[in-house]
């Protein structure tokens, strides 16, 4: 009867869904936690958060991931306390919970990559759960007797062994008193009756060993489950012992410990009162019995719903009535007290449409008053408690209509499983609004993208065809018709391309949403107070752009936090507000997305940068004297420059900004920095909206066509040959009042021929932006500007740095796209 292997195949669709959902939930939980930090008293946020954690815990319980479930469960308990107002939300609490969620995220990644959780995580998990619970014990205002939450049974077999009183009197008195004292300190105790199956020895089971290993064991006893036969008749291989245990473990742990024999154990949460009574007096016995009865499997459906708030409230009301009725004193006002209880019960019954209850309650009340004891009412209440619950469920199902129809269905499904503590998370809103968005595999979109790319290329063949029809076959009519058709297809293809681009568009919020956490954690680590302002989160750009933006942005934000913003003391001394502001702003400007990261920190000192760069040998002495402040600041993009005095674990290893720049350049973006000493720094990243279609200017040189990305083109100009001067080896021309170096494209590409002048003896010069310099490229002639889909060079061609890619032209020829930056 060993458990099934705990590593479900990664291809399991349920698991896949779980993983996808979990990531979303974790993200949501993190967000909510941080929102709560700003508004710690917002009850709806707390509820939301609790629900999310609860759902996640429930989901994880579907699989054998006890490590994950344990941590989530602890988190849920903690939040439950917060929700019930027993604990206040604090930063520390948020820290712990965030840690716990990080751990869960780690486990999720592990499951994703290996399909299972490494056994070594169990210890971490237990430790985390424990620390969460320890926090619970510390912050709980009243951790002692919690009538609402103490549904006393945790795990219970469906085929229940007959309910028996926990014979707590077996326990040595000293130990019992000790346990009672610890109860007062918020610890929970569980009574476990462990009745191993008679044939368990054949399954390789050693019950005594399992009993000894019970977590948190305080006390245990070994008893014969039936009078042991004389030695001569003893069957060695039939287990005829049972165990009684008292533990201070967590119920999750206990369930886990006995997970192979859940049907053989009865775990009962110990009411501190039970520990206090030395002998089970009849009255007490009755009460205990009732607790056990209400905890018996009959109430299992009720338990599966215990987290819906109404049920919890109902249970609480009923439990309180029970406690009132169980009171042993006989005050003069007993009669009034009983009537009050009866009235509460009647009202409850009425509100739930439980009509037949009224008469019964009256009768019990009369009996109770007559005997001057709460007993008759208590008996009635215990016998009919489940009626209340089931009516509540039915009622809420009616009210909520469709949405909770699902809930009831789920709960019906969940009922048999409730014994294992597995609960399906139900989210009513899942069903209500219907799926508005589709989740599509990126590969499918990419395929569409490729197809539309081909279509664009193919459609460009039509004008050539029209030309041929006219020139070669002399059918002018046909040519015109083809052109007409072409313009229609052209329009549709353009729109289609646009539509597909829209699909690929993602809001920058995908990247931005991780910053609140990053900024929070980092600034706390550094002891700085930082307010993060996010603007323009809805700005959209192509998925690839957005994704490649993440890392550079994180670098920049870390840099700003570490080097830019000062500690509160320093800021105060400078006359700035103690809390620094970090603004991350996204906006669309024409066909580009501009992202600015602005801090109001200490700014960059150009002198320091210059000195550093000189010391590190990045610039020579002459440059040191010559360069201006802005140029000096731009030096921070140079590789190997770090301005931090001390290398922290956050930044300052000198790999920051040059990596940022190359990452941004890789997606055809630019990055610029402005900084004012003492005022702050602003970094501006400009990115294309989409990488898919590149506008390219076609040029001709030595009879070949080349493409130059329009981003690089400054202007096209024709320069008379006489205006070109040679300064030493370099050619230059004065254009619009400034000296521009000229280079022949042929020379750069190693083509021996000279650029061809036109009939007016002018050379075609393409002014291009190469980095921060403007350069004139001498070519033979300019052609049209076209939009095309650039394909990276594959295979051996990949090494040709002069080209950034290639594209198919309408006539089927290949156009090579020049990479100006690399070429010059």
């Amino acid at each position: 009867m060993k458990a099934s292997p705990s590593n479900p195949l990664p291809s399991n669709p349920l698991l896949e869904q779980f993983l996808a959902e979990s990531h979303e939930l974790l993200e949501g939980i993190g967000q909510k936690l941080m929102q709560l930090e700003d508004a710690p008293t917002d009850q709806s946020l707390v509820n939301e958060l609790f629900r999310m954690v609860h759902t996640h815990k429930g989901n994880s319980g579907l699989f054998t991931f006890p490590e994950m479930t344990r941590v989530l469960h602890a988190g849920e308990d903690l939040l439950g306390e917060v929700r019930n107002g027993k604990a206040a939300f604090s930063r520390e609490l948020a820290d712990r919970l965030l840690d716990a969620m990080d751990f869960v995220g780690l486990l999720l990644n592990e499951i994703e990559s290996t399909g299972r959780i490494d056994a070594s995580r169990a210890a971490d998990s237990a430790r985390l759960a424990e620390s969460l619970r320890a926090l619970l014990a510390v912050i709980s205002v009243s951790a002692t007797i919690d009538p609402a939450g103490s549904t006393p049974v945790i795990a219970k077999s469906a085929e229940a062994t007959p309910i028996e009183l926990p014979p707590l009197s077996e326990i040595p008195e000293a130990l019992r008193i000790e346990a009672f004292r610890r109860c007062g300190g918020g610890e929970k105790f569980y009574w476990i009756a462990y009745q191993p199956a008679p044939e368990c020895f054949f399954q390789g089971d050693d019950p005594f060993h399992r009993a000894r290993q019970t977590p948190g064991l305080l006390w245990g006893s070994i008893l014969p489950s039936e009078p042991l036969p004389p030695l001569a008749e003893l069957d060695t291989y039939k287990c005829s012992l049972k165990f009684h245990l008292l533990t201070a473990g967590f119920h999750e742990e206990l369930v886990e410990h006995f997970r192979y024999v859940p049907d053989q154990v009865t775990i009962v949460a110990v009411d501190p009162l039970w520990l206090a009574i030395s002998e089970c007096e009849p009255e007490n016995t009755f009460r205990i019995e009732n607790d056990l009865v209400s905890a018996s499997p009959v109430s299992a459906p009720e338990r599966s719903l215990e987290f819906t708030e109404e049920t919890a409230a109902l249970t609480q009301i009923l439990t309180v009535q029970e406690q009132i009725l169980a009171l042993e004193d006989r005050p003069a006002w007993l009669c009034g007290r009983l009537k009050a209880v009866a009235a509460v019960l009647k009202n409850l019954a009425n509100s739930l449409g439980y009509a037949e209850a009224e008469g019964q309650i009256e009768a019990s009340l009369a009996a109770a008053v007559a005997s001057a004891r709460g007993l008759p009412l208590l008996e009635w209440l215990n016998a009919h408690q489940s009626q209340f619950t089931s009516r509540l469920v039915a009622q809420s199902a009616e009210n909520a209509g469709q949405a909770s129809a699902e809930e009831v269905a789920t709960s019906a499904v969940a009922t048999p499983a409730a014994d294992d503590g597995i609960k399906f998370g139900r989210r009513a809103e899942d069903n209500q609004s219907g799926p508005r968005s589709l989740k599509v595999d990126q590969a499918k979109i990419d395929r569409l993208m490729n197809l539309i790319g081909e279509l664009v290329v193919e459609k460009n063949a039509l004008p050539y065809l029209a030309q041929r029809a006219e020139a070669q076959y002399g059918v002018r009519e046909l040519s015109r018709e083809i052109k007409g058709q072409y313009s229609v297809i052209n329009r549709i293809a353009d729109e289609m391309q646009d539509a597909i681009m829209q699909v690929r568009m993602m809001a920058v919020s995908i990247v931005f949403q991780r910053f609140p956490r990053l900024v929070r954690d980092t600034s706390r680590k550094l002891g700085k107070e930082v307010r993060l302002v996010l603007e323009g989160e809805q700005t959209e750009a192509d998925k690839n752009i957005i994704e490649s933006l993440a890392d550079p942005l994180i670098h920049i934000v870390r840099n700003s936090l570490d080097h830019g913003l000062e500690t509160p003391e320093v800021r105060r001394a400078c006359g700035k507000p103690e809390t620094g502001t970090l603004t991350i702003r996204a906006a669309q400007q024409a066909d580009r997305v501009v992202i600015e990261i602005i801090d109001d920190g200490k700014g960059i000192d150009p002198a320091v940068i210059k000195q550093k760069a000189y010391v590190k040998g990045l610039i020579d002495e002459a440059t040191l004297e010559r360069i201006g402040d802005q140029e000096a600041i731009n030096l921070i993009f140079a590789a190997g420059l770090s301005t931090a005095e001390v290398i922290s674990d956050l930044s300052g290893r000198g790999v920051g900004m040059d990596v940022v720049r190359s990452a941004v350049q890789k997606i055809n973006g630019t990055v610029a920095i402005e900084s004012e000493l003492g005022k702050g720094t602003s970094i501006r990243i400009s990115l294309p909206l989409s990488m898919a279609v590149t506008q390219v200017m076609v040029i001709e040189s030595d009879g070949q066509l080349f493409g130059v990305p329009m981003d690089n083109v400054v202007e096209t100009i024709r320069v008379p040959r006489s205006a070109i001067h040679a300064i030493k080896q370099s050619l230059t021309a004065v254009l619009r009042g400034r000296i521009v170096p000229l280079k022949s494209l042929n020379t750069l590409l190693g083509i021996p021929s000279l650029p061809l002048p036109n009939s007016d003896d002018e050379l075609a010069v393409l002014l291009v932006q190469a980095g921060s310099e403007v350069l004139g490229l001498m070519v033979d002639s300019f052609k049209e500007t076209i939009g095309l889909i650039q394909k990276p060079l594959g295979g051996f061609l990949n090494g040709l740095s002069a080209y950034s890619g290639s594209a198919l032209m309408g006539d089927g020829s290949v156009l090579m796209i020049l990479n100006i930056r690399k070429m010059v």
Binding site: P196, F201, D206, P207, F208, H209, R212, G220, S221, I222, L223, P224, L228, P229, P230, L231, A232, L234, T236, Y237, C239, S240, L241
Partner: protein, 78 residues
């Protein structure tokens, strides 16, 4: 050998597995006044435990392992 059977004394050592129970039972059935030495025992399988309990046997030395002793003493002291 986890159980060393002396003349009238069974000496348990380390962990005593389920396989020993049969032999222990036979050994005990043949003797009316045997004693058991558990001092070096760290764990005994439930099967052995119930044999000892059924035999109401006298324990000559209790386990040195305090935790085990706490379990066994109430059960085996008769």
């Amino acid at each position: 050998m986890p159980i060393a059977f002396k003349k009238n004394r069974a000496v348990f050592q380390d962990e005593v597995s389920v396989e020993e129970a049969e032999g222990l039972l036979e050994w005990l059935q043949k003797r009316s006044a045997a004693k058991v030495d558990l001092s070096a025992c760290s764990h005994l399988h439930t099967a052995n435990l119930q044999v000892l309990m059924a035999a109401k046997i006298e324990i000559s030395s209790w386990p040195r392992n305090i935790e085990l002793r706490a379990w066994l003493e109430p059960a085996l002291k008769s």
